[in-house]
């Protein structure tokens, strides 16, 4: 992978004369351009939601609470990241939620049944997760079916496999506790430990998440592969015509989702020691929701990596903000819907203001 393309030149374009009125337009268009960024609407939404709960709920204000919110956001955001890249590339993956469970089940059962060091299970799970992503992408490219249908198939198949294979090996519907096996502690340190930052316990997933978001942003905006993602999601045929390897890009994007599912799956395994085979169903939609709140278009070709991260944060903030505010729990889902819709409307409004003449 080379980063030779699109390095922004620091020198101003020579054709621009420095007359006064034109400077003013240039400045305004800069603000506009900032507001038109896909993540800005979400950022403003996040600030609004944060301020709202900060006023409403005293226990929301502590750094510990922020850390808990960030934790929930990170497990969502780690998956929303590759899912949003895939959406920018014009495809969906409905199997993303159960693929997380598939990864953790694979690692746990492989290590347990063969009495291996758990790191072996971690590696095998990585291979399996990437293979699932590859198969999704390959089927999509070869059959030409919409990704919605292809991954609906793999969503159902993985759900069935998760249950059936777990039952074959463990005789139960949940895996065995692997916390007393060799390699568990080192794997837990990598995937599921707590880190003390200025007296606040922060889950390591939060740090991984921030790191991956930084890498993802760099890849999307500064590399050839990033350009390809926008190209295949925007205009597939034109992209192919100018030499973008459409099939490879799409398969790679699905494999990235597999990579994300592996990482989150490992976190869940080492955080909770055992895995329930029915877990993860429904999360695929939350990943897409986070991506859309973050400014990714459902039609592809537009979006960012930071936006979905903010989207995941909004989701984590709202779900826990409602708890911190101590509202009647019967209304929880309703409030959740209202807050998310509100954040979305604000987001769209900002976008529209920015693109208006």
């Amino acid at each position: 992978m080379s980063a030779q393309t699109t390095t922004p030149s620091s020198a101003p374009p020579p054709s621009q004369p420095a007359s006064l009125p034109e400077k003013r337009t240039a400045q305004r268009s800069l603000t506009r351009r900032f507001l038109a960024r896909p993540e800005v609407g979400a950022l403003i939404g996040a600030i609004a939601v944060y301020t709202f709960f900060w006023v409403m709920a005293p226990s929301f204000r502590s750094a510990d609470s922020l850390s808990t919110m960030l934790y929930q956001a990170s497990t969502l955001g780690l998956m929303a990241l590759p899912v949003s890249l895939l959406m920018i590339g014009g495809e969906f993956d409905l199997s993303a939620g159960v693929a997380v469970t598939t990864s953790s089940l694979t690692a746990s059962m492989f290590a347990y049944q063969l009495t291996m060091n758990v790191w072996m299970g971690v590696i095998v799970a990585l291979v399996v997760a990437l293979t699932v992503g590859f198969i999704n992408g390959y089927l999509l490219v070869k059959t030409g079916l919409p990704s919605f249908l292809v991954t609906l198939g793999s969503f159902l198949m993985l759900q069935g496999l998760n249950l059936a294979i777990t039952k074959i090996f463990t005789g139960n519907v949940a895996t065995n506790d692997i916390s007393d096996m060799e390699g568990f502690n080192s794997a837990k340190a990598v995937f599921a430990s707590d880190i003390n930052i200025a007296g606040v316990q922060v889950k390591i997933t939060v740090l991984w998440w921030l790191l991956f978001v930084a890498i993802g942003t760099w890849v999307l905006l500064r590399t050839k592969f990033g350009n390809w993602i926008f190209a295949v999601g925007g205009q597939k045929e034109s992209a192919r015509a100018v030499g973008v390897p459409v099939a490879h890009t799409k398969i790679a994007l699905f494999m990235l989702v597999g990579l994300g599912a592996w990482f989150v799956g490992m976190h869940q395994l080492f955080a909770f020691n055992a895995v329930q085979s029915g877990a993860g169903v429904g999360n695929e939609l939350l990943y897409i929701v986070a991506a859309v709140i973050g400014g990714c278009l459902l039609t592809g070709g537009f979006g960012s990596v930071i936006g979905p991260a903010i989207g995941a944060f909004i989701f984590g903030m709202v779900t826990q903000g409602i708890v911190f505010a101590g509202w009647n729990p019967d209304w929880f889902k309703f409030f959740l819907g209202v807050m998310l819709l509100g954040a979305m409307l604000l987001n769209t409004w900002v976008q529209r203001q920015a693109s208006r003449r």
């Binding site: 992978m1 080379s2 709920a57 226990s59 510990d64 609470s65 808990t68 919110m69 929930q72 497990t75 969502l76 290590a111 347990y112 049944q113 063969l114 009495t115 291996m116 060091n117 790191w119 072996m120 590696i123 291979v127 249950l163 039952k167 139960n172 519907v173 949940a174 065995n176 506790d177 692997i178 007393d180 096996m181 060799e182 390699g183 316990q201 050839k224 592969f225 390809w228 869940q268 955080a271 909770f272 020691n273 055992a274 329930q276 085979s277 029915g278 877990a279 993860g280 169903v281 429904g282 999360n283 984590g316 826990q320 708890v323 911190f324 101590g326 729990p329 019967d330 929880f332 889902k333």
Partner: protein
């Protein structure tokens, strides 16, 4: 990404080969794992010489639930003993469950064991089953409906009574503020449990809804709640996996709350053994499945009914430090 696919494949192969090599070279774990597992024996009880018959068991279970797995094991143990072929099926959607019962009628089974969690949806199809001359045993849910629907017996625990028993127990422990976690919104059984706790517990009972299919969100929401209200001194989980997650939430939140739970699984049994969970209210799911099948067999071969027109209660049974030693091994086998 400018590598050719064949190069990538070679690289992948190399990683796999390296992995296998490591395996051979001793990447085995010397602790835990399947090798350390004790040989387990399920529950077996001889074999009847009555004619072979088929019994259908249709439940409202969602796939992959540890609780229902134990119910099914009980049913299978009874079937093996009674020379019965057991046909198990389940669907959490009421209309689909009713269709599964219709399928059983079409298969001309000799008996039907069914859960009545949505009595109104099941009423017609249960009547049809009985009209076809197939005896029906109700279990797990439908305590108020099985008799009027003509079932030969009912085997289960009353969720409200179980909740009330838990509430009483909290009173005797001197608890002040309980948090009841409902991990599946809209489930009548789970709501009943918390309502039962609320009706007898003298302290405050709060309810928290979480998404049981997403453990990280369960953990963080529970942590948030415990931080929001530090006066909570008891957490009541309605399923064993949730109870285990509650333990880590409590330590995250720096709370002093204790965990108690409904139902068991092997990890929860271990947690009771080492004192991380105070107690569990068990409704003995194995027994529910076992008795439902066994009662149908008795009805077919000897005309017996169980319960004398009253529901046969399989719970609530408390599992705590006083009796965990006995229950522990069965839980490890996956039958408690």
């Amino acid at each position: 990404m400018d590598k050719s696919p064949s190069a990538r494949r070679t690289a992948l192969g190399a990683v796999c080969a390296a992995g296998l090599l490591l395996t051979v070279a001793g990447c085995a774990s010397s602790t835990g794992g399947a090798k350390a597992e004790q040989s387990t024996t399920g529950v077996t009880a001889g074999h009847a010489n009555t004619p072979r018959m088929t019994i259908a068991m249709v439940t409202h279970a969602a796939q992959g639930d540890t609780f229902w797995d134990i119910v099914r094991k009980g049913a299978e143990a009874a079937a093996a003993k009674d020379n019965v072929k057991l046909v198990y099926s389940s669907d959490p959607v009421a209309s689909n469950q009713a269709n599964l019962v219709s399928n059983a009628i079409n298969q001309k089974v000799d008996g039907l064991a069914v859960t009545l969690s949505t009595p109104d949806a099941m009423r017609d199809v249960v009547a049809k089953t009985e009209a076809a001359g197939i005896p029906v045993a109700a279990f797990n849910q439908g305590e108020d409906y099985w008799k009027q629907m003509g079932a030969i017996g009912y085997f289960g625990s009353d969720e409200k009574i179980a909740g009330q028993a838990l509430g009483d127990r909290l009173n005797s422990m001197g608890a002040k503020h309980d948090l009841c976690i409902i991990h599946q919104q809209g489930s009548v059984a789970l709501e009943d449990r918390c309502a039962g706790v609320k009706s007898t517990f003298k302290g405050t009972t709060d309810i928290l809804y979480v998404n049981g299919a997403d453990m990280p969100s369960v953990q963080s929401m529970l942590t948030a709640k415990l931080r929001q209200d530090p006066s909570i001194d008891q957490v009541t989980a309605l399923g064993a996996p949730i109870a285990l997650t509650a333990i880590s939430s409590i330590s995250d939140a720096g709370s002093k709350a204790k965990v108690n739970t409904f139902d068991l699984n092997k990890d929860a049994a271990a947690a009771i053994k080492n004192g991380k969970i105070e107690f569990s209210v068990d409704q003995q799911p194995f027994l529910e499945g076992y008795l439902a099948v066994d009662s149908l067999w008795l009805y077919k071969v000897n005309g017996n009914t169980v319960g004398g027109g009253q529901p046969t209660l399989t719970g609530p049974a408390f599992v705590d430090s006083s009796n965990i030693a006995k229950v522990y091994q069965y839980a490890q086998n996956g039958t408690r």
